[in-house]
Amino acid sequence: MTALAFTADHVAHGRRQRRNTCRRVIGCAVVALAAAFALTLTLGQSFTPPQVVLDVLLGKDVPGASFTIGQLRLPRAVLAILAGLSFGLSGAAFQIMLRNPLASPDIIGISFGASAAAVFAIVFLSASGAVVSLLAVTGGLAVAVAIYGLSSRNGVAGTRFILVGIGVAAMLESFISYTLSQAPSWNLQEAMRWLTGSVNGAQLQQALPLSAALVGFGGLLLSQARNLEALRLGDDMAAGLGVNVARTRLLVIMGAVGVLAVATAVTGPIAFVAFLSGPIAARLVGSEGSLLMPSALVGAILVLGGDYVGQFLLPTRYPVGVVTGALGAPYLIYLIVRVNRTGRSL
């Protein structure tokens, strides 16, 4: 055997090992998500035996359980998973593209853009359903374009993009508060949704736009996964490797804003899920393969788990955004301290 063949075997072996690790992590995440899903369906205020849950899922009419599970727990869990997948995917895409964990859409105001558009549509235009989703996507894209325009001078520098975004986020948040204060009658739960995100009062038909957005925009993102990986080496290096950087950026922004905004139109901007998913996935997966899928799964686990904790494990009921917000805030502080020191990226 020649030295080259020997080294090639060695290289192939290492690569396969790391890819298997990546697959194992994805497998474990799917199992964990399924387990959490099963838990939220069976154990809430009361315990429902798995057999009964299964019966309800299969469409049998079980007195009592049909309502608890079919109308309350199932829509809530399904929506939590879909929103989590969307936020995780979108957050990781932005973080990878701009090579900075702070570049998450919930930090740089894109989530608030979608949320502000949704609130505006509901309060002032009395809109609902698809119109709200559409306006949310438009709002998110408009904010993305605005930040892009405000921060581009001789190309977009990551730091300026983030700082401009944080400013825009603060402005939009106050706009949301103002709009909410103008509404004729809001209960606290509804107001919380548009500020921190919640899956309260979820309905199964809301899952439809979310699934469609995940297939369309999410598919667009996954088609750019390889180019995104190349972008992690720097824009110049990626261009040297044959990546059309401008086109990749455009497609990624469209895809990421699309999934994010549609999900936000339903659940509100669930705090810090987009921000946390990518870095957590990166810790678990390592450097081989794309981070998009693992991040999406982590996002789903965060929202489903966070909602469960907020509902049942704390003295008072809290919307999911309060729980994920409490998780995310310390990490944000840690990150700002650390990024300033080392300047490293995701």
Binding site: A3, L4, A5, T7, A8, D9, H10, V11, A12, G14, R15, R18, R99, N154, S223, R226, E229, A230, R232, L233, G234, D236, M237, A239, G240, L241, G242, V243, N244, A282, G286, S287, E288, R344, S345, L346
Partner: protein, 270 residues
């Protein structure tokens, strides 16, 4: 083996409303090492960026085998023309062989699987840069010199006939600078790779390059063999520095000795 030819024709490029250079022509010698030298802000990095399509031309074009690189599909171009920019970024936690494997990007499609050919290209790049032992190590843990060898390995895994490097020796100590340049000569001699690099150090450029291109104020001031280009006049015109040129006893190439205002024995200058 026939080599790809890179030709710069009447090129203008710049940033904002300012042209860094205009009307520039350069015929890159195939299978040779070309070093671009010049003072800070003379446009040498801008030229390299324009030649590798990082910067769109304002006028003129860059031709690869007679075809404009600006209209070629990017992936196709990346199979022939490799690039090592000045400060590439290693993703956190990435291992050496994964990073080198990223060089295979232009050879892989969206759905195509990793092939034996890819593994062999990575293996050959690791061997050529003497980094086989580092293959499984995280890049974060490596020294600056080792890291630069890894980046060159990545460019090698791309298996391009032409390689552009923007100051490949910056931030390296002198031993590692020599190591990197030796590596590039190896590459040029064993694979016939055409190398074009921007270098800061005039003497290392004269030692290692077959062809020197001296730029000043966005113009090609002089080009040719190191012996032709590295003269007292060129150094004065390009760098505004008085110097004395001697023959390097080790290589026979010219060696530039700067004349500053201090520490010079007066009779030497006269």
């Amino acid at each position: 083996m026939t080599h790809h030819r890179l030709f710069v024709q009447d090129l203008a490029a710049g940033y904002g409303d300012r042209n860094v250079f205009a009307g520039l022509d350069l015929d890159v010698l195939p299978a040779k090492i070309t070093a671009i030298v010049g003072a800070n802000a003379c446009g040498k990095s801008t030229l390299l960026r324009a030649m590798s399509r990082l910067l769109p031309p304002r006028q003129g074009q860059v031709l690869l085998d007679g075809k404009s690189i600006h209209t070629m599909p990017p992936r196709k171009l990346a199979q022939t023309l490799g690039l090592l920019p000045q400060s590439p970024i290693a993703p956190e936690g990435i291992t050496v062989s994964d990073l080198v494997g990223r060089g295979r990007h232009p050879h892989q499609g969206v759905f195509s699987r990793w092939t034996r050919q890819d593994d062999e290209a990575v293996a050959a790049a690791l061997q050529a840069t003497n980094t086989t032992d580092l293959a499984e190590r995280p890049v974060d843990e490596l020294s600056g010199g080792q890291r630069q060898r890894i980046w060159i390995a990545m460019a090698l895994a791309q298996q391009t006939d032409i390689l552009l490097l923007d100051e490949p020796t910056t931030f390296l100590d002198i031993a590692h600078q020599v190591e990197v340049l030796d590596l590039l000569v190896d590459l040029n001699q064993t694979r016939g790779t055409t190398i074009i690099m921007v270098l800061h150090d005039l003497n290392l450029a004269a030692r290692y390059a077959d062809h020197l291109v001296a730029m000043a104020d966005g113009r090609l001031h002089a080009r040719g063999t190191p012996g032709d280009v590295l003269t007292v006049e060129t150094v004065r015109d390009v760098f505004g520095l008085e110097s004395s040129i001697v023959a390097d006893p080790l290589s026979g190439r010219p060696l530039m000795l700067p004349i500053g205002r201090h520490r010079i024995k007066r009779e030497e200058v006269a």
